[in-house]
Symmetry: C2
Subunit: 189 residues, 2 copies
């Protein structure tokens, strides 16, 4: 079994495992490898072939989360327009992450699986665009970048909770989230 990045069928199997793991663990952090295998439609032995131990799978999930977040950040074109406009686009793209978002938010221990002590690329990009917002007057300079980032993440979570707990359509929750975020970060008001 070579350790090169898998291709074709092997890549699809690996991806299916990671997607299933995200969903299952988001709903039930203590879910077993058997639970994940069943959700992925593979055998438990197969899980072990791709990820020798449970900790290896968790680490891979962590990396997968960061990868998905980085891709969403790129799709948001963070360097275009004002800081506030860019932040709203990032917010929209992150909202579409669904399980990734919920997982990253609810599972604090995910930070122990990958080295999240060091900032991710998305963190840096987010920090810069908030500072750009301070400079162009679209984001309240009294709000530190770290707080604005934390705020956005938590409002995204609130939006998803609003959808799940209160049976509200996704787009309504996103609209409320964007509307409220806009007001929360606005300068001069």
């Amino acid at each position: 079994m070579d350790t090169a990045a898998p291709t074709g069928a092997r890549a699809r199997t690996r991806r299916a495992i990671l997607d299933a793991a995200l969903s299952v663990l988001a709903a039930k952090p203590a879910a077993s490898l058997s639970d994940i295998a069943a959700a992925a439609g593979v055998g438990r032995t197969t899980i072990h072939r791709y990820f020798p131990e449970r900790s290896d799978l968790l680490a891979a999930i962590g990396s997968y989360l960061l990868e998905r977040i980085d891709l969403a950040t790129a799709r948001a074109r963070p360097d275009d327009g004002t800081g506030a406009e860019a932040l709203e686009r990032v917010c929209q793209e992150y909202f579409e992450l669904g399980d990734v978002l919920l997982f990253a938010f609810e599972n604090n221990q995910a930070t122990e699986w990958v080295d999240w002590e060091s900032e991710s690329e998305s963190d840096r990009i987010l920090g810069r665009l908030i500072q750009r917002g301070h400079a162009d007057g679209t984001i309240d300079p009294r709000l530190p970048p770290a707080w604005v980032a934390e705020l956005m993440w938590s409002m995204l979570y609130a939006a998803w909770q609003h959808t799940r707990q209160n049976q509200v359509p996704k787009h309504t929750s996103l609209s409320l989230c964007l509307h409220t975020l806009r007001k929360a970060i606005a300068a001069g008001c």
Copy 2:
């Protein structure tokens, strides 16, 4: 062993177990009864004397959370002043809950331990004061009560995260939280 509400030393022991359980499980949801016992300074057998099975302890934690939240809601005097003023006081009291807040937020499965399907008293009070805010013009009527409640909870969590992750003093985080909540819910702006 009678099942009457414990008093004196027994009540203190029970309380110590619940407080330790909250802290330990907030940081590590899969923590064992041994972990909790160690943190509470009691023997594991003692845990079993107060809570026959792990599920009994979890249920007691759930009730304890609700109790703490209800007390914090009462302390906030929700019927005084405008809706927005009352909401800010509730926010401040909830912030002081610390571990209770973090636990309730990060552990979705806590909702499975007590019957959270039916609204708690605090939920109803919160809903009423947000509607009062709509009526007295201090809370944006475009924001549904359920969304405002969800928003407040998530911003409280963001504030605590800001303190933990970014080494910011508690009072600074609370100030940012209240400042941002005020802007987010304001009508006409």
